[in-house]
């Protein structure tokens, strides 16, 4: 009886410990985003009075920060730039990675496996090694300060990762499906286009989300190639242009960070398991 009660107490204690541990981690990871949200609606005078308790609204909340962000900064323009680059890069990525992923999965045999790994390894080559020669190439091409420079360079990391991901995806499709289509008179290419692509919508959607989020996250190349405020993407515009001014409008800055990051984060979150699966392909069986 008392042993059972003791067991329950231990279990309860362990449950509380577990919850407490997770709570600490959640505070660590999510606090900055909560802080962005609350700061976005505070008046500047509230933020800049040291005596105020920063965790509560000492003055009534305001929408002024959002108005300043959208009307008096280039924020909307940056969002638009980011979307533009994202869409074009995603299109290029699909055109290159879908056929390559399929060919590596089905047509190239043993040799394809090696090539697949080689392609994945290029994803690990960091921009910090490449951005110096890239800067010179971009300036020789006359693409400095142009969003097209980003369109040209971003597939260098979206294509390797997405090819690798699609290769795994296509491998999981039963060969019988294509063979049946080929017996029906389709060529290999016809079978790929009419049978394999339509049933791979989920994989292709994953690739679209990834290349879009990877583009939104990129920082180093955009910082290197672009120096005109109007041509920034959002991930560079906010930290360099908004933060670096002499007057800090923390409310507007935080609003800008929150608006551009949380929707992307939620979208990415839906697909993150596939991202992990791509990384660990082979290491997890």
């Amino acid at each position: 009886m008392s042993a059972a009660a003791g067991g329950r107490a231990t279990r309860g204690l362990r449950g509380a410990g577990h919850a407490g541990l997770l709570a600490l981690f959640v505070i660590f990871t999510a606090f900055p985003f909560y802080w962005m949200l609350i700061t976005a609606f505070k008046r500047t005078s509230d933020l800049l009075t040291r005596a105020n308790n920063p965790f509560v609204f000492n003055e009534p909340p305001t929408l002024e920060n959002l108005r300043v962000l959208f009307e008096e900064t280039l924020y909307l323009r940056w969002l638009w730039n980011t979307a533009f680059v994202g869409v074009v890069v995603t299109a290029i990525t699909l055109v290159l990675a879908v056929p390559a992923g399929y060919a590596l999965a089905r047509l190239a045999g043993r040799w394809g496996e090696r090539l697949g790994i080689a392609i994945f390894l290029t994803y690990l080559v960091p921009p910090t090694l490449l951005f110096i020669p890239m800067a010179r190439i971009i300036s020789d091409l006359g693409l400095q300060d142009s969003l097209w420079s980003l369109v040209l360079v971003y597939p260098s990391f979206t294509v390797p990762f997405c090819t690798w991901l699609l290769m795994g995806f296509f491998k999981a499709i039963p060969r019988d499906l294509e063979e049946a289509a080929m017996i029906d008179g389709h060529s290999r290419l016809g079978a790929f286009l009419r049978v394999v692509v339509p049933i791979s919508v989920a994989g292709i959607l994953t690739v679209i989300i990834f290349s879009f989020t990877l583009v939104t996250q990129e920082f180093v190349y955009a910082l290197t190639f672009i120096s005109t405020a109007r041509e920034f993407t959002v991930s560079v515009g906010v930290p360099t242009f908004l933060v670096h001014g002499d007057v800090y409008f923390w409310g507007s800055i935080m609003a800008g960070c929150f608006i551009a990051s949380v929707p992307i984060a939620v979208l990415y979150n839906v697909f993150v398991d596939r991202f992990i699966a791509g990384f660990t392909m082979g290491a997890v069986k």
Partner: protein, 318 residues
């Protein structure tokens, strides 16, 4: 021509076979079709990764600047002059301090967090989303949140410490303004950013362990520590290696957190090779010297690539 006839004829149903002979011979042979489908992607990668990669090596041996029209070959001069500067020595040392301390902390915390997350509990999806936020949100924007949290005058951390009486009024820390503290801060924020990725990778490994292994350990009377350190962790070693290697590459080569928070300051105490390469090569326009600094990252990447290939081979990738 013949194709037009074929399409018009009622046998058009066998269309795919009626293409011009050479083309169809190419398309129907798997190895040719395969090469044709891979070629564009490989070509693109060679042009935008391969070429700049070798250019980086070449630039590091030249005297190129942003505006120069000619390019002279200077051998190892750049390396010789770079290595002598105290800025470089500081950055090299900082790179190792930054990368290794951040990555050790990430691996320890990620293992703890992954073990805590493997249990089922209510609201797990929400906890997972909140823990993943730093990884899935654009890094530079998330880091600005910290810039405000660690502000020299209005830091919420200092306010809390003052309110709790740990520090006197106006006695709060200059989180990003004092040498050692600034390094501590950027390491902590880098950990914040990588922790979610390492956690979900390790979690994927943990969930792949078959249940009977855990059951058998239970039956044999293994306690929590023994179970964790002698059964669970050894089983997920390959995946720990993947998480560790990827994190290490990011920690050694990434400069976003440092650029946003300190720009290498105060007095270069948080300057790392990646950020120094940026400031030298791009902002000061000395491409050759910038490239020489960046190339110091190269041996490290080779080591990581080799390790990765080993893991891939041992587990017979895919």
């Amino acid at each position: 021509m013949s194709r037009g006839v074929a399409t018009a004829a009622p046998e058009a149903r066998v269309g795919p076979a009626a293409r011009p002979r050479v083309w169809s011979a190419l398309i129907d042979r798997p190895e040719w079709l395969g090469s044709l489908m891979i070629a564009p992607a490989v070509l693109y990668i060679v042009l935008v990764v391969g070429v700049p990669f070798f250019l980086a090596l070449y630039y590091s041996l030249s005297d190129i600047t942003m505006g120069s029209r000619t390019l002279g070959f200077v051998g190892l001069d750049n390396f010789a002059s770079v290595v002598r500067t105290s800025k470089f020595k500081t950055a090299l040392w900082n790179t190792f301090v930054f990368a290794i301390s951040a990555q050790v902390a990430v691996m320890v915390l990620a293992n703890i967090l992954a073990l805590a997350l493997i249990k089922d509990f209510r609201g797990k999806w929400l906890v997972r989303l909140l823990i993943l936020l730093p990884w899935v949100a654009p890094i530079s924007l998330g880091t600005i949140g910290w810039l405000w949290i660690l502000d020299s005058t209005y830091s919420v951390l200092n306010w809390t410490l003052e309110a709790l009486g740990f520090v006197p009024e106006y006695g709060g820390f200059m989180w990003l303004g004092v040498p050692h503290l600034a390094m501590g801060s950027v390491v902590a924020i880098h950990v914040w950013r990588i922790l979610p990725l390492a956690t979900v990778i390790i979690l994927a490994g943990l969930t792949s362990i078959p249940h009977d292994i855990h059951d058998a350990a239970q039956v044999d009377g293994a306690g929590f520590w023994r179970h964790t350190f002698q059964i669970t962790l050894p089983l997920i070693r390959p995946i720990l290696l993947v998480a560790g290697l990827f994190g290490l590459v990011l920690a050694f080569t990434d400069m976003i957190v440092i650029f946003v928070l300190t720009r290498g300051g105060p007095y270069d105490t948080t300057q790392v090779l990646a950020s120094l390469a940026f400031f030298t090569g791009i902002q000061a326009g000395d491409l050759a010297e910038g490239a020489a600094i960046a190339v110091f990252l190269f041996p490290l990447l080779v080591a990581v690539a080799i390790l990765f290939l080993r893991v891939a081979r041992r587990t017979e990738v895919v």
